[in-house]
Symmetry: C2
């Protein structure tokens, strides 16, 4: 069974691992977010792709949920001595991936090709494809002006209320090779997903009014949306016919009915292998 997962960072990476563990090798394709990509120290960094890659290949730091387990910061300590920015943490092993990716991008290779090659070298059975090879950047509108996503999230610790979100390059960006095939050919990622709404299952990234990781709930609230699993479901309603809720949110099932989305209630905090197996089985069923 060919299954495609569209994933962001920490939570999406764990869902990808859940499906990878549940499916035969080669049956899973993960379409990764590149909207959070950034340049730091002159290096091209794809935080969400890397989190998926590190998670699927057993490299992920289990405490942080990002970066490489047991990584050191010898390079970073020296870079800070030399006056480089100190707010984005980059471990020594992690920088190797960024250096290699930066070199290859500058040499003209597509991000999707680099990502596939790295996954292959690390023996990853899952295809990982960036949503687009084109430049796509998220900007957050705040009272202090528009900030690059990582500056807003990491440097300023997501403390500025979000007045708006802008995706620079979204009009020109085209799906990377393999993205549309993984969904079913269509003339755009979103259209391709909507065409198969009945087969699309979304997994709530919000449990009991709290995000698994990151500032999602605060972003929803400051933009005037419901700060819970339903606030996210309203975004996904045109695309997904079913929505996975944690038992803690079972009371929200009626709200899903009103959105014509089928509720699937199963534990979704994916740190434990048993929970991963359960949610993977529920989604695949």
């Amino acid at each position: 069974m060919q299954v495609t997962l569209i994933a962001g960072g920490v939570g999406g990476a764990r869902m990808a691992l859940a499906l990878q563990e549940a499916l035969p090798p080669g049956d899973l394709t993960v379409i990764g977010n590149v909207g959070d990509d950034c340049e730091h120290w002159g290096l091209s960094i794809s935080p969400d792709l890397d989190t998926v890659l590190y998670t699927l290949t057993g490299r992920i730091d289990p405490v942080n949920g990002w970066g490489v387990a047991g990584d050191t910061r010898r390079l970073m300590d020296t870079a800070i001595e030399l006056g480089e920015d100190d707010w984005f943490i980059l471990g020594d092993k992690d920088v190797a991936l960024h250096v290699a990716r930066t070199r290859r991008l500058r040499a003209g290779e597509a991000l999707s090709s680099i990502t596939a090659d790295v996954a292959r070298r690390w023996g990853c059975a899952t295809r990982l494809v960036p949503a687009t090879d084109d430049r796509l950047r998220t900007w957050i509108a705040t009272d202090d002006g528009e900030l690059p996503f990582q500056e807003w999230l990491v440097r300023r610790r997501a403390a500025d209320p979000v007045a708006g979100v802008r995706f620079e390059g979204i009009e020109e960006a085209t799906p990377a090779p393999g993205v549309l095939a993984a969904i079913a050919a269509a003339d755009g990622i979103r259209a391709a997903i909507a065409d198969r709404r009945d087969d699309v299952v979304a997994v709530s990234p919000v449990i009991g009014g709290k995000a698994v990781k990151g500032p999602l709930v605060e972003m929803l609230a400051s933009m005037g949306h419901r700060p819970d699993a339903i606030g996210v479901a309203r975004y996904l309603q045109p695309l997904a016919g079913a929505y996975v809720l944690d038992p803690e949110d079972a009371g929200l099932a009626d709200d899903l009915d009103a959105l014509a989305m089928r509720a699937i209630v199963v534990p979704t905090l994916l740190k434990e292998p048993a929970v991963r197996a359960g949610v993977a089985a529920a989604v695949l069923a």
Copy 2:
């Protein structure tokens, strides 16, 4: 007393340290070689400048004579997993300098400005100035064609006989800010040195027919020159009025007379502080 040293890599760095230890802080300027610079993993690397910088600030690996003492290779191990070239050894702390320099060069800052700032941040009392901010690259002609210097030296271990040496960019390169002032204003580095030949002391990099470090003697031999201290002295004859020989080469003093160069005989293998103090005193006298 303002003193200017024109230095290459390991041997030159030790001579710089000898003079730095012998002079009051601020009296020494080192003009560093950039002809061996290279791009590796997409990073801009200046091996000779870095060796001088690491030596003058106590960071140098005393065993290798290059790189940072106690540095690790965690980034390099991962880069090799990802298919990057494995023949140029880059430690984790060392890469931090290359990453910072690469970012700043791409942002338009001059190599001399970056180098001065790094030296200042690391508390280096000596001014270190690259000979030029322009792109200058050394190519080695071999039977297998022309090779970039570091490929010839490191990747192929200097095993290919040298048919010729070409300095790409030498015609267009202009002295970096501070270089001419450090020698005395003139319309070119070489002319500036030759104008002060009587004040210029060269230190032989060859002792007993062996280079302190590197393939110098083999290069001399394969290009048809004398493979000893005199082979080098003939290159320096128009520029330097005096030449420091190790006692092991005292018998070559007559050959120096024929070149109108004054022989200064003093131990020159500069690993030990006492030897450094002796050669610095002899040169300054």
